[in-house]
């Protein structure tokens, strides 16, 4: 993957990432977190993404529209690559806190699907609860990603 992306700061355990979204208009500090938990013997990592507030907390509902969506998406995807390098057996899951956030997540997944489908199993969870292999441009309630076994 050689797409433009931002420099990334990471916690020592690779569960938290921050970068600065830069445009002519403004600079916004962004955070990506992977919260680990287990349910029914499946090891999940819930992805959270948002703007870092001045108090250090994260606003997972923020819509910043900083005219750099492509670079931001690439940067989030690189955090996924790094996360899976450290935690290859985890299943990354996420759902948007709003319809617009779900559209953003769908854009991330679509990009990941285009660039890395040979590496990842990507699924979408429909509004009726059924799960299927991800179909680009389809609206889903939640998403699930895991590394393919060789």
């Amino acid at each position: 993957m050689n797409k433009p992306s931002y420099k990334i700061e990471t916690s020592a355990d690779g569960l938290w990432y921050e970068f600065v979204s830069d445009s002519q208009h403004k600079s916004i500090r962004k955070g990506v977190g992977y919260y680990l938990y287990e349910e029914n013997d499946i090891e999940y990592a819930e992805l959270a993404f948002g703007d870092i507030l001045p108090n250090g907390n994260i606003d997972i509902k923020a819509i910043s529209d900083n005219q750099d969506m492509v670079i931001v998406l690439s940067t989030v995807i690189i955090t996924l690559y790094n996360f899976f390098e450290l935690y290859p057996q985890k299943t990354v899951v996420f759902t948007g806190s709003s319809a617009s956030r779900n559209r953003l997540y769908r854009a991330i997944i679509s990009k990941l699907f285009e660039e890395g489908r040979q590496f990842f199993d990507v699924s979408g969870i429909n509004y009726d609860g059924s799960k299927e292999l991800f179909i680009k441009n389809k609206d889903y309630l939640a998403f699930q990603i895991s590394l393919k076994n060789e």
Partner: protein, 50 residues
């Protein structure tokens, strides 16, 4: 049979470890919006597993 997951190649040089970020994941779990979303996601996953 080799079950080791295959990883994509990517530029690791863009990463810098910042130890001041080590407690951020704990901060996230105290975030009310995240907690609400987490509950919602668990329900979705439970339903999809049936």
């Amino acid at each position: 049979m080799n079950n080791k997951p295959k990883l994509p190649t990517f530029d690791r040089s863009i990463f810098t470890v910042n130890h001041s970020l080590n407690d951020k994941i704990d901060l996230l779990t105290k975030n009310e919006d995240f907690q609400e979303n987490h509950k919602k996601l668990r329900k979705i996953l439970k339903k999809s597993a049936i």
